[in-house]
Amino acid sequence: MSRLTEDNVRVAHEIISHYPRSRSATIPLLHLAQQQDGYVTNDAIRHIGELVGATSAEVLGTATFYEMFKFEPVGKYLVNICRTMSCALMGGEELMHHAEHRLGIKAGSTTPDGMFTLEHAECQAACTEAPTLQVNYRYRFRVTPETFDALIDDLAAGRLDSEIPAHGTVARIRQHIPAERGVGAVPPEDATNAPSWMTVAEAPK
């Protein structure tokens, strides 16, 4: 149970500075907390509320709406197997069946060693490459039982560590707006003039 570290608070302030209202940073900060701890802790929720000016209940209310946020530890690798139409037509259900046997767990649970959590997923936007899965949101296409087994072996042996970070980290590259280049976010009530390049006055409609 931990609040955001000092380094992550700096990142949080940078994220918040991108938005006209700090509440907009709620989801990015929840991702940041999950990146730090592997899941979203109660302390992190309280801390995020302090940072964006919301109550813990409001932050929790937002967080529980979104499927990517976990509120208890999950495996180092979250394996999501798609079951929506295109994948189902091309063998997604059979793939899940195989995965359950290979990992020895049912969908929705974690292996006892804490390495793998298996989940059903809905459409992953790679329908022509069905059946698909994601490991910590990294794609694998046209997965067969053989390639699934090889993937699990590689993950367990740490051979994919450079490509697939542990659960919690989604994008490894962040946007940075350099101070000398950025316009800066302004609360909407302080930006009520027409932008400078809109030189032609609008005729009332």
């Binding site: 509440r23 997923a121 329908c127 490894r172 000398e180 003039n193 932008p195």
Partner: protein
């Protein structure tokens, strides 16, 4: 089969056709600023900045760039719907692509983020939008990384930020990302999510985002592919744009064809004239049904679209024509089912999706979608009764009262009911849970009946227990 595939862009198939949004896909490093600049990158922005904002807006209106997110509303017209004199105005770019069967925005973000950034700049310049938020689906890690890296490059090189290319046009583009919720693809839910809330759609009318959107200010919500069209349009002009495609659907559009075809793929097709037969059977497209099976049915425009039968193969991929025929072009996703497909089960995969993704705000969707899923689940498991099939239609009627759109069928003697439907929900998630049920049940009722539980009526007095067990 003809057409080129690239190992660095799995799923995409290039052909001998005009390329408006995929012209850089052939390059492995298409996502870098260096490659973009070597291939006309930001030339569209320069062209736009050399003209007044009004002129650029007029050019986009003249090209009739239809929104590529699903509704097909012309982008130029949408930009003009903001109330006069109300500032600031925002641009929110919808990259929360998650409609079943659809993926093109993901490729456009992963393969050519600079084209997207350039499109956002052009839109903001033309419509006087003072900040842009690029909302990318949470599960798309690579797209987020590519867009973040591209934004960092573009800021450093002076294409985004203060006084862009030395002009008085200044704009911040902020990368924002979601966390897994289909409904957030609906524009008002997207805005709620961007404000840090649960992604539940807002009631509209009376106020559409163009009038009251992000932070209560005028907000334009456009799809990634719509934005990606703008750099080419600015470089080549609206006359060149409308010279491609049909009069009502100009340009090209990205279509993903998946399911039981020989070569599933994402194709940039000529808008409005390419027929489903071309797409499914053409040598430059999918090359026919897998194993030379017969086509049974197909979904023409993403999981929310009513299904088509082989009778509709000669329809062109054109929004109005598809709408009149009883479905929608939607997000450009065709899902193909061959004659080996278990239709009730296929319908279940979609209904389960929408029931799962209901945000819970509207009762007909929250409760109705779940009912539909449970009843259908029972039928598919061989536990359903005739009453269940009627109940499916009854529950659907509470989400979508009145006639529901469907395709015509010579075999079934059905006349087409045009799109759209009436609905008792704020957004399309609820009706979309019913769509696959209605299509499958209307067009393939016999397959559902074949799955119903076989119950034999046995008078209590006439038989012994062992005989009853034998009968069961």
């Amino acid at each position: 089969m003809t057409g080129t595939t690239y190992s660095h862009a799995p799923g995409f198939v290039a052909g001998d056709r005009p390329q408006i949004v995929t012209s850089r896909f052939e390059y492995e490093d298409s996502y870098t600023l260096e490659r973009a600049l070597a291939t006309d990158g930001y030339a569209g922005l320069r062209a736009a900045l050399s003209r007044s904002a009004t002129e650029v807006h007029d050019e986009v209106k003249a090209a009739t760039v239809l929104g590529r997110g699903g509704a097909g509303f012309p982008a130029g017209t949408k930009w003009g719907l903001t109330p006069a004199g109300v500032w600031p105005r925002y641009l929110v770019v919808n990259g929360d692509e998650s409609e079943p069967g659809t993926y093109k925005d993901r490729l456009l973000m992963e393969r050519d983020p600079h084209q997207l950034i350039e499109g956002c700049l052009i839109a903001c310049y033309a419509a006087g939008l003072s900040q842009c938020f690029l909302y990318i689906r949470g599960e798309m890690a690579l797209a987020q990384e590519r867009v973040a890296a591209a934004l960092n490059e573009a800021y450093a090189a002076g294409y985004v930020g203060r006084n862009i290319l030395g002009s008085d046009f200044s704009l911040d583009i902020v990368l924002h990302w979601g966390a897994g919720a289909y409904v957030v693809g609906e524009e008002t839910a997207l805005i709620e999510s961007l404000e840090g809330n649960r992604g539940m759609p807002r009631l509209k009318p009376p106020f559409f985002p163009a009038a009251i959107g992000l932070y209560g200010k005028p907000t334009i919500v456009n799809n990634v592919e719509t934005m990606a069209n703008l750099p080419w349009l600015m470089r080549n002009g609206s006359a060149a744009y409308t010279a491609i495609g049909s009069a009502t659907s100009p340009g090209t559009r990205m279509v993903a064809v998946s399911g039981h075809v020989k070569r599933p793929g994402v194709y940039e097709i000529i808008n409005g004239t390419t027929t489903f037969r071309d797409l499914l059977y053409g040598a430059e497209f999918c090359g026919g049904i897998r194993d030379n099976n017969e086509l049974k049915a197909f979904v023409p425009g993403g999981g929310s679209a009513p299904w088509f039968l082989p009778d509709q193969l000669d329809l062109p991929f054109e929004g109005r024509l598809i709408g009149a025929a009883g479905s929608m072009a939607g997000s450009g996703a065709v899902m193909v089912m061959d004659d080996t497909t278990d239709i009730p089960n296929a319908a279940l995969t979609l209904t389960r999706f929408y029931a799962h993704e209901s945000c819970g705000k509207c009762t007909p969707c929250r409760e109705g979608g779940t009912w539909l899923m449970r009843i259908l689940d029972r039928v598919v498991a061989g536990q359903g009764t005739q009453r269940d099939l009627d109940q499916l239609l009854e529950v659907g009627g509470t989400i979508c009262p009145g006639d529901f759109p469907h395709a015509s069928s010579e075999r079934l003697g059905l006349a087409a009911v045009p799109f759209p439907y009436k609905m008792t929900t704020i957004c399309f998630v609820g009706p979309s849970a019913y769509t696959p049920v209605h299509s499958a049940l209307t067009l393939f009722r016999d397959e559902f009946e074949a799955k119903l539980v076989k119950r034999t009526f046995i008078p209590v007095t006439a038989v012994s227990v062992s005989e009853t067990e034998a009968a069961l």
